[in-house]
Every structure is written in structure tokens, then in C-alpha cells.
Amino acid sequence: MIRVVLPAHLRTLARVDGEVRVDVKGPATQRSVIDALEGTYPVLRGAIRDHVTLRRRPFVRFFACQQDLSHDAPDTPLPEAVACGAEPFLVIGAIAGG
């Protein structure tokens, strides 16, 4: 079970409070976690990554274990602490705008 922390606007959109947990088949990667997240909460499709290219939206970042993973390849394994549920995978809205 992967723990995911969403930014406030996406929690509102998905109608969830606090952390969410998703089951991932196979290795825990950015791609498999977002796939699982979108499968559970279809309203998030297009909000974290582009519908067609599946690239991360420019103002969205991925953090975990005090690291910025945003520029890792989508199939790079996530840290073991995320994979085993000890640490959450953070989806962050970049600080920008007014």
C-alpha cells in the first residue's frame, strides 16, 4: 500500500481528506503510483500529468523522503520507504502565481 499526499485542490477534486492509499501492482514507481491513483480517482486524470503524453504537468512536483523526484524517469523505482508505506509520496503544487 502506497501512501500519497495530494495538494489541497486535488484533495477537493477527488473528494478526499488527508492521505490516500493506493495499491500498486509490481514495482512502486512514479508511473505505477499515478496510474493507481488515477484508477481510483478518475477525476485526477489530466490534473497531475498530461492526458496524452503522460508527462508531469510543469507546476506539479513529486517529493519523497526529503528528495525531489520530479525529474526522475517515470519508471525509476521509488525509495524503499515509500514502497513499504513508511513514508508518503508527495504530490506538490509548485509555489507560483498569485
Binding site: P7, A8, H9, L10, L13, V43, R45, G46, A47, I48, D50, H51, V52, R57, F59, V60, G93, A94, A96, G97
Partner: protein
């Protein structure tokens, strides 16, 4: 007694303003979708309880929200807007080719007859359609593909398709407008399109009378006279009486003919409203006086309407989708400002009062007249 529902899109959420037919006391609900940019909210003419809202964010992209109960509750529907085939390129600001990229929905136009059918005008400019209440969207790609698409260029606000008008009398005829490509007409329900910009004159493009490239800000039509269209262009207020084949200027005695919105009185097809803005480099009212101008002849004679509007130190803008009219007698006129005010006139523009004063910057105003 009739009721009025005003649907307001702002930079930080949507608001629904309701009143009885007197239009004196208003209830305000919102913000809906707080913190998101709401470019447009519009109800279906076929079912006024069916409302569509364009919810966008630079962070999290496009959402489409749908209400089936007049704006009380909402459900997200489909948000996948994918250009048909290979998208190709349009011109960028510097004249270089730039790939077509979906950014947001600027305008929803629900079908006149079917609440599940809606047209969406998007940036980068294209026209999309749903026939299943917003669950899925497909592009009417004949518009981008008719030949001039690669030469279209964005205006300062982006290359947006912001105006969609269905002809209520001629099946299959519809009009759209794009900044900064111009106006286009289809006579086969959106399959094929032709530019309709003859008579427009724009000094800011290399050929002022070019077939495309004009920065049309808004077009309005009275449903009883669908061959007559009124246009607020970047500069110039224009009119056509032949469905866009030929345009002529009717700026007349306006103090400045730059502006964004234009609308037509619900019961008088020759009565038109604009809000003149100082210039393309100073997007606020001339002399700090917020004035609506009314034209009762459809020609060159405009009268200023100021009663109840600020006449000093007012430096707001009124954006292209931020004016609308109701169908009551007398006709109500409504507009919203970038300062967060929504003004209403219950007497066709003679007097004005704010419904609300302190909303986020208003992007769009639509009015529903309810039984």
C-alpha cells in the same frame, strides 16, 4: 413571478447570484471551486438546470464541471481535449511555427435544443463538441484545418476561441470568433468553415484587410435576426447584415472604440451595448469613468449610460465574456469587472447598481431567465 440567475466566473471561483423578477434583492452563493479560475459558466437553453463550468488552473489543468440542479451541486465530467489527428502548428508571437497545445476552455455554448450537446471554445484555438453531457469531447477539426490555421497568431491573452453562436433559424449555421484570427462561419454544423472578415480593417497586422489575423473580441446576435451580427473588435465596433459576408463600422460617436464585450437587448434587435476601454495599452475606462454605451438604432449613434456607475477614479476592465442580458421586461443588463463588481441594470441600462462589489476579478457573466 420570473426569477433571474446570474452565473459568474472569476479568477478564484464561481458564484451564483439569484433574484426574483424585480432584481432588487440578490442572494449570492459561492465560491464554487474555490481557488480555481472559472473562465465560463453557462446554462443550457433547453434545460436551465443543466449548467456547465470551465474550471482551470495553471497547476492542475482543465476540469469541466456539470450541474443538473441549477448550480447547487456539481459533478466533474470529461476533461480530455485532444486535437484531431496531427495537431500541426500555428504562428507564435514572433512569427515562428508553434505546436498546437491545449491550455483551457474559454467558452461553453450549450446547444439550443439538447442539454447533452455543448460546444467548447478552447485555447489554443479550436472548437470541441460533446453529445453526452460532457463525458467525452471531440474536435470539429474542419475549423483549424480549413487552410489558414497555420497562419493564426495569438493575441496578448492567448490564442483563444471565445465566441460560439448557433443560428436559431438556419440548421447547421454557426459562427465562432478567435483572437487573433477573426470570425468564421459554418453552414454544415461545424464540418467546414470559412473566414468571414471582409470589411474588417486592422492597422496592427501587415495587411489591414487580410482574410484572417483580426483580433475579434466578441460577437453578439439577436435570435430574431441571425443574419445581423454585432462585433467588438480590438479596435472598432462592427456590424454585418449578411451573416458575416460583409462588415461595416458603427463606432460612430463612441469616445473610444476599443473594448471587449458587446451584447444585444433581449427585445430590441437594434439596441446594442458596449463598454469602451481607453486603449489596447491601457485596459481601463477613459478618464476613470465607467460608462456603458447604448446604441438604439444599430448604427452610429451611441448614448452614454452612467447612472449608478462610478464616474471617477475607476480603473477596472470588463472582459469579453463578462456581459449578458436577461429576457424580462424591462430587459436587464449585467456586466462584471476585473475589480470584482457585478453591476446590473433592471431598466435596459438607464440606471445601474452593483449586485456584489468585492468578488475576485470577474472573467464571465451569464444570465438565465427562469419561470
Amino acid at each position: 413571478m420570473s426569477k433571474v440567475r446570474v452565473l459568474v466566473g472569476t479568477r478564484k471561483g464561481a458564484f451564483v447570484l439569484t433574484s426574483d423578477g424585480k432584481r432588487e434583492k440578490w442572494e449570492v452563493s459561492g465560491p464554487h471551486f474555490a481557488g480555481w479560475e472559472i473562465y465560463h459558466v453557462k446554462g443550457s437553453p433547453a434545460d436551465p438546470n443543466r449548467i456547465y463550468a470551465s474550471q482551470t488552473s495553471s497547476w492542475f489543468g482543465q476540469q469541466v464541471q456539470r450541474s443538473d440542479d441549477g448550480g447547487t451541486t456539481w459533478q466533474p465530467v470529461g476533461n480530455e481535449f485532444v486535437y484531431d489527428g496531427v495537431p500541426g502548428t500555428h504562428q507564435w508571437y514572433d512569427g515562428t511555427p508553434h505546436p498546437w497545445e491545449f491550455k483551457r476552455v474559454w467558452h461553453f455554448e450549450p446547444s439550443l435544443r439538447d442539454p447533452d450537446t455543448v460546444y467548447a471554445g478552447v485555447e489554443d484555438a479550436a472548437l470541441f463538441k460533446t453529445t453526452d453531457g460532457g463525458k467525452s469531447w471531440h474536435e470539429l477539426s474542419g475549423l483549424r484545418g480549413h487552410g489558414t490555421g497555420p497562419s493564426w497568431q495569438p493575441g496578448a491573452g492567448g490564442m483563444c476561441l471565445h465566441t460560439i453562436i448557433e443560428d436559431p433559424k438556419t440548421d447547421g449555421r454557426m459562427f465562432v470568433a478567435i483572437s487573433a484570427a477573426g470570425a468564421f462561419r459554418s453552414d454544415d454544423a461545424g464540418k467546414t468553415w470559412k473566414p468571414i472578415n471582409h470589411g474588417l480593417h486592422s492597422q496592427y497586422i501587415p495587411d489591414p484587410g487580410a482574410e484572417v489575423g483580426h483580433c475579434v473580441h466578441r460577437i453578439a446576435m439577436h435570435p430574431s435576426r441571425p443574419k445581423t451580427l454585432f462585433m467588438q473588435k480590438h479596435w472598432d465596433v462592427m456590424r454585418t447584415d449578411d451573416g458575416g459576408d460583409n462588415w461595416r463600422e458603427i463606432s460612430g460617436n463612441l469616445p473610444t472604440d476599443f473594448g471587449f464585450p458587446i451584447d444585444v437587448h433581449a427585445h430590441e434587435p437594434e439596441t446594442v451595448y458596449v463598454v469602451p476601454i481607453k486603449s489596447d495599452s491601457e485596459h481601463f475606462p477613459l478618464d476613470g469613468k465607467l460608462r456603458v454605451f447604448r446604441n438604439r438604432t444599430g448604427g452610429d449613434e451611441w448614448e452614454e449610460l452612467t447612472r449608478g456607475l462610478p464616474q471617477s477614479d475607476c480603473y477596472v476592465n470588463v472582459l469579453r465574456d463578462a456581459m449578458s442580458v436577461d429576457k424580462l421586461d424591462k430587459c436587464g443588463i449585467y456586466f462584471g469587472t476585473t475589480g470584482g463588481q457585478v453591476y446590473a441594470s433592471a431598466d435596459a441600462g438607464d440606471t445601474w447598481a452593483p449586485i456584489v462589489r468585492d468578488l475576485p476579478a470577474v472573467l464571465s457573466v451569464e444570465v438565465q431567465t427562469l419561470p
